[in-house]
């Protein structure tokens, strides 16, 4: 029987420091065993447990899309013990990945609809995966208008700058990347995410919105969404709670009767309305 606690061995193929504060780093990982790679069948919105031997395991959203090939991408903000140990691993190091875990964004519900993606800070990881997935040649026709609203404090704090540059040149995504205030050399939008959302005003008709970001961003964006006519069922977010097993067994991450690791991390605002606010 497969042991769900046993990580797959992977090699760090490439690391990229994403942000000017050098606190956020991306890791491109390749599986050591082909079989593990085949078993790791994921959908954007899911996460994995990353292991550094002797340090422990942490849940991190999968930032790559399965349409990008066999490697996995994770983007990690340096916070404490394990994230710091991870930042200290060099290219070529061996580490562990366990997953994919959790549900995913509701692509079955998003199909045939306009999709608005709203993100802020380092929570942009699984949103990157989602956009790459929807923009993929094989999938693009499944979705209506795609609108992106993504904000960071400064231009230097934006993640995935190369990918953003590619998207900005496409005509099949309404691209809105914003920074909090004017900065030298920045020619894009300026303003906080809620205000930009109000200006961009994505239509709520036959649409789904996915919102991930710091709590304050979500707090001030939700009223804008309501004003735009998005119902709680149409508004999707992803939760983070402290986790251990990641498979709905260790009892760590529950919000009411739901385990964020297994029943989530993706929930609609309609679901969250029925749940205690313990996240």
């Amino acid at each position: 029987m497969k042991n769900p606690y046993l990580p797959y061995p992977v090699r760090i193929e490439k690391t990229v420091i994403e942000t000017e504060d050098r606190n956020i780093k991306s890791f491109k990982l390749v599986f050591l065993n082909d079989d593990d790679c085949k078993t790791f069948d994921y959908t954007p919105g899911q996460f994995a447990q990353l292991s550094v031997t002797g340090k422990g395991e942490i849940p991190i959203g999968i930032a790559s899309s399965p349409t990008e090939g066999d490697h996995l991408l994770f983007t990690v903000n340096k916070m404490g013990v394990v994230t710091t140990a991870l930042h200290n691993l060099i290219e070529g190091s061996i580490m562990g990945v366990r997953g994919p875990l959790g549900n995913s964004y509701p692509f079955d519900k998003m199909k045939g609809k306009d999709v608005t993606i709203i993100g802020g800070g380092y929570a942009f990881t699984t949103l990157r995966a989602t956009i790459v997935y929807m923009l993929d040649k094989k999938n693009r026709a499944d979705f209506g208008k795609i609108t992106l609203i993504y904000g960071a404090r400064t231009p230097g704090m934006l993640l995935y700058k190369d990918t953003l540059a590619e998207w900005s040149k496409r005509d099949d995504i309404n691209y809105n990347v914003t920074v909090d205030r004017d900065a030298p050399g920045w020619t894009g939008r300026v303003g906080f995410v809620p205000a930009v959302t109000e200006q961009v005003a994505p239509s709520s008709k036959n649409a789904i919105a996915v919102i991930c970001g710091p709590p304050v961003m979500i707090k001030y964006t939700l009223p804008v969404m309501i004003k735009l006519g998005f119902t709680p069922e149409q508004t999707i977010t992803s939760l983070e709670n402290r986790m251990k097993c990641g498979i709905g067994i260790c009892g760590r991450c529950n919000v009411g009767p739901e385990y964020v690791c297994k029943d989530g991390p993706v929930f609609s605002m309609a679901q969250l309305k029925e749940m205690p606010q313990e996240y």
């Binding site: 042991n3 606690y5 031997t53 190091s93 498979i247 260790c250 009411g256 009767p257």
Partner: protein, 343 residues
């Protein structure tokens, strides 16, 4: 041969014969405490006046600290986690109480879900035959009949044993149980009177153990209605967040996972953990979704009486063993808590 009879004089033979096929465990006295441990002799067992083990027997399948994986620093598989679970020894446990066996059944539902199976639990569990002992004299802290059970509950056991005085009456309930009973040479067909005596004992124990509270309103109220009740401030007020209740409870199953390092490498271990602690939920950012004891105490009772039943076909996550009632240092009584939840 649903029922078989064993004369207590033959307990030594029973243990000896059973010991040929597996390790035999029973309740053993260790200082002031009673725990389940291997026995080689009938006299090793503390069956005289035996009520129940001090700690719950969950530790047999879910040890307080358990090695899960290991890794080395050097060599071909450097920094690759390996699974080195040993084949568990075959066991038969004599004297398990029906409430604790029922707790195992609840944990079976926890350690396996629609996607994942926790083999650390099931490998040991599957290698074990549970020979339970019906309760003829429930303790004052017990309340199994209030949580959909009773002192002779068969759910979760392989064999139910009734203490008839001179004899034990064995009722084999599963294939494992039938095989165990069939393998003992000193088992005898019981008389009708033996079976009648068992029924009387069972009825008497159930009558003594009156239902102490209902759970119907807990079931009917929504999660948020219960969650937002006023009672939680008062209930949690005396709590020290000491976690005793979680550690003694047969259904509490939360665990932490940590890496421990040695010179050559290290191990990934899991340790019992409690939702009573602050560290349980705190995020790396410092934000804590359950910042005070009120939220943490509420979590423990909501989990057992609302969340588990909602997700596991109405099964209540408490079996009424009363250990937390007996051992809580500030006398928080789960029965009183549920009465408030159910008001």
């Amino acid at each position: 041969m649903e029922y078989m009879r064993l004369n207590k004089k033959n307990m030594a033979v029973f243990i000896e014969e059973l010991g040929r096929t597996c390790e035999v465990w029973g309740p053993v006295k260790e200082g002031e405490q009673v725990k389940y441990a291997p026995v080689s002799n009938a006299t090793d067992m503390a069956l005289d006046g035996f009520k129940n083990s001090t700690m719950s027997p969950k530790e047999i399948f879910f040890p307080q600290s358990e090695k899960m994986l290991s890794f080395r620093r050097e060599g071909e598989d450097a920094n690759i986690y390996r699974d080195e679970q040993a084949q568990p020894t075959k066991k038969a446990i004599f004297g398990i109480r029906p409430c604790d066996a029922r707790a195992f059944r609840i944990l079976d539902m926890i350690f396996k879900n629609d996607q994942f199976t926790d083999n650390y639990w099931f490998s040991k569990r599957d290698a074990t035959t549970l020979v339970g002992l019906g309760c003829t004299e429930p303790c004052s802290t017990c309340f199994c009949t209030s949580v959909n059970s009773h002192p002779f509950d068969e759910k979760g056991l392989d064999v139910l044993v009734s203490d008839l005085g001179e004899h034990y009456l064995f009722k084999a309930l599963t294939k494992k149980g039938r095989e165990l009973v069939a393998g003992i040479s000193v088992m005898r067909e019981p008389s009708d009177a033996n079976i009648e005596a068992h029924m009387v004992l069972r009825k008497k124990a159930e009558d003594v153990m009156t239902v102490q509270f209902g759970t119907d309103k807990v079931k009917d109220k929504t999660v948020l209605e219960l969650f937002n009740e006023d009672c939680w401030t008062g209930i949690s007020e005396p709590c020290l967040n000491c976690s005793t209740c979680s550690y003694v409870c047969p259904t509490c199953h939360c665990f932490d996972i940590q890496d421990e390092v040695s010179k050559e490498g290290g191990e990934r271990v899991r340790n019992w953990e409690s939702c009573m602690t602050w560290i349980f939920t705190v995020h790396a950012t410092g934000h804590n979704p359950r910042p005070t004891k009120k939220e943490r105490v509420r979590q423990r009772f909501m989990h057992k009486f609302k969340y588990i039943p909602m997700k596991r076909n109405g099964e209540i996550g408490c079996v009424g063993c009363g250990r937390c009632v007996a051992l809580c240092p500030v006398n928080i009584d789960i029965r009183e808590v549920v009465k408030q939840m159910n008001s």
